[in-house]
């Protein structure tokens, strides 16, 4: 059964068309990898699904669990079970890791979720979610906080990019944990080796899905650079 359905989403940023009739379905408990080069609109799509400020579809519909959610604010979408880990998680002064993981539920055991992302609770629970954490530590804590929410849909925006990227094994572990909870995952990446851990994959180019299905086949398609306009690094369409 479709948990998330994106129906012909179009999004303009100024004069630029970032998404052009983008359609995709994510089933309940499905890990769906979205593959694409830089500038294809992957993060934009994530912001549209989450409902971030300034990201309203120009046209098209976002349907979650059978309900159109275009008009809902971020926290209202979060209440439905949608959450997101930004590519570079923001820092918070004066908020401890313990408090951050229990923002929504003071009764849960935060240590359990730190262990799931490979961090020792005794070393981290008392630390602040501020700039004293390395980029990698911050990303792990963000993923732990998402796991603690037990979301119905977790959007992970390129956890495998940047100098503080998580290893493939780290990401496999986190994805497995989401699956155990029955969460669906939209895993945004531009690394083909990550794609194969998904149940399904789609390649985005020119603001729309150009290939979708078996992750290995989509990764192969992406690797072959059959999309002639892209140079494999940056999408030339947008």
């Amino acid at each position: 059964m479709a948990l998330l359905e994106l129906k012909g989403l179009t999004f303009h940023a100024g004069d630029k068309k970032i998404l052009d009739g983008f359609s995709m379905i994510i089933e309940a408990s499905e890990v769906h990898a979205l593959l694409g080069t830089n500038g294809t609109g992957k993060s934009t799509l994530a912001y549209l699904i989450m409902g971030c400020e300034g990201y309203k579809p120009t046209s098209g519909e976002i349907v979650f669990d059978g309900k159109a959610i275009n008009k809902l604010k971020i926290h209202e979408r979060a209440k439905l079970g949608i959450t997101m880990a930004w590519q570079e998680p923001v820092r918070f002064e004066g908020i401890s890791v313990r408090d951050y993981l229990t923002l929504n539920n003071k009764d849960l055991d935060p240590a359990h979720y730190l262990v799931m992302v490979g961090l020792h609770p005794e070393l981290y629970l008392g630390r602040m979610v501020d700039r004293c954490l390395s980029g990698g530590e911050r990303r792990r804590i963000e993923l732990a906080s998402l796991l603690a929410l037990h979301p119905r849909l977790a959007i992970l925006d390129e956890p495998d990019s940047g100098i503080d990227m998580l290893s493939t094994q780290d990401i496999v572990n986190v994805i497995s944990a989401f699956k155990e909870h029955g969460s669906s995952v939209l895993l945004i990446t531009h690394r083909e080796e990550i794609v194969i851990i998904a149940d399904k994959a789609s390649q985005i180019c020119n603001g729309k899905v150009i290939c979708s299905g078996n992750p290995a086949k989509v990764a192969e398609y992406y690797k072959s650079r059959k999309c002639l306009i892209c140079n494999g690094e940056v999408c030339a369409y947008v």
Binding site: E53, H75, L149
Partner: protein, 311 residues
Amino acid sequence: MSELDALMKAFGEAGGDKAILENHEIAHLVASGHKLVSMKSVAGLEVDAKETISGISAKVTVKKGIKIKNPVHLCFGVLHKKGTQKIRMDVMLENNSSAHFIAHCIFPKAEKVRHIMDAVVDIGEGAEMRYSETHYHGLYGGIKVTPKSVVKIGKNGRYFADFTLTAGRVGTLNIDYSVEAGENAVTELTARVFGHANDYIKIKEKVVLEGKNSRSIIKSRVAIEDDAQAEVTGITEGNAAGARGHVDCMEIVKDRAVAKAIPIVNVTNPLAKVTHEAAIGSVDKRQMETLMAHGLTPEKAVDVIVKGILK
């Protein structure tokens, strides 16, 4: 109810622990208005306090080499709606001594109250002083508080001071702290204030890094809402080789509130270095969105962020 009981009741209501007054291992000094209502010392700590025409005057000395184990509690308050309280403190930490002073300043019913603190602090060589001051001014905003201190830190001395006023109204606050740091001395000044309604906050903190390799940080965290106003001035002078200073000011502004930050750095020695950063604005959008993606309402998200920076 005695003056002491009334003050302790207010102290308890403001989150304090009344049991500290009964503990024989904890030194304290309690003043209500112009009255000295309770005092206790411990070995190595000399307290000479007396009532004056408008408040209290106290001379506090930590003897050479003595490390006071438990924090020394200072409790000052005015329980009436109107009144003036002037506190004069002369604090001396002799060489290689250390103490932590916790000051509780309570004015729960203030409608027209003035509280003036005038402190002179002398920290000897190798001595360490921690000073934590928490204020509660009630809900009426009818108070004018003027804390002033002049601190001198000797060679290898350390001074850590923090001022917190984050519950209830502020009224008018005018902080004026000045520190002169000697060779290898370390200074940390932190102020956290949350202003509402028509509260007026003025914070001026100055550190002069006079000694070789002396170090300092001035950190200010202010949140203001409604029609409140804040002006934060952080001044650091680097006058000696190896001196390192930093001024860090963050102010969050809501509604019609107005904030101003004035970082002043003045370096007279080419081997000294002083840096500053100041950020004033509304709550960070990315922080808001992240917390909302965790299910918090916008109001709750702002609350969590503001409480965090004031913690």
